[in-house]
Amino acid sequence: MIRIAAVGDVHLDADVLGRFRPALEELPDCADVLLLAGDLTRHGTESEARCVAEEFGGLGVPVVTVLGNHDHQCDQVPQVVKVLEDAGITVLEGTGTVLDCPGGRLGVAGVKGFGGGFAGRCASDFGEPEMKSFVRTSNESAAALGEALRGLDCDLLVALTHYAPVPDTLAGEPLEIYPFLGSYQLGQAIDSAPTALALHGHAHAGSERGVTPGGVRVRNVAHPVIKQAYSVFHLGGDQID
């Protein structure tokens, strides 16, 4: 069994420093890894990233993250990534990592993802350059996730995104904004590999549980949804063929 703790959308800045830390100190007793589902900061500044590093660094368990849309706001992504990596936090963007846990080798592939909407109600690669650019961003992001997932050699495979791969976990959000909250292409990428669990954030008013069309369990771990410092999942550790 592999124990995964996860949370997203913590939106750290100096005013939040220390709020998560008491619960995080308990992590080594209850989890093998902490996965962060993006929107670590308010605006994606280097100083906010230092707050993230201070709050989520040195926890005694590996920390793996993707970035979210807020982490891109100030166009300081390279600086943010460097601060996080200097604190020992692994940042994924169309990439993956394998962690040796007591219960087996955990593979995590991650990407921020993007909007676009869900099957039958989605944007298409057609029309104005701005629309084509929007949809191509979604397509490329999902393709990178799928490639990263299929490339990992591990016992248990987890997909980590900021944007949602299914509409199920958006229940509670206005239907009109679903295309800005995720894309079906992410779900398709997750279903292209033997993924055991998909974790995402971004949808603050969404709901916790869903499943991809291919049967992969999806959990929305946005902090406003889970209403605790992090959620913990125990996965069976079935071998991947």
Binding site: H11, R219, Q228
Partner: protein, 88 residues
Amino acid sequence: MTEHSAGPPDAYVEAEIQRLLTEDPDVAEQGITVVHRETGLVLTGEVESPQRRAEILRRVAERFPDEAITSDIGVIRTQAPVQVEELP
């Protein structure tokens, strides 16, 4: 569409506040719901600190000084979980 006195239609007020709360760098909140009722503005949602809640209310009051504001914005709890989810 309901209008309050000579002010703009509700939908435009709500849209302006939602964009203000997202695009103002001192706020940057996308999860606040705004409803313009006859009694004034009602703000709901959750934020990460009491300071952020106070700043939201200050900004909205500054922009719409003649509107009564009702706040039901909570601060999200950060306690450790007491249960795990088993996923066999």
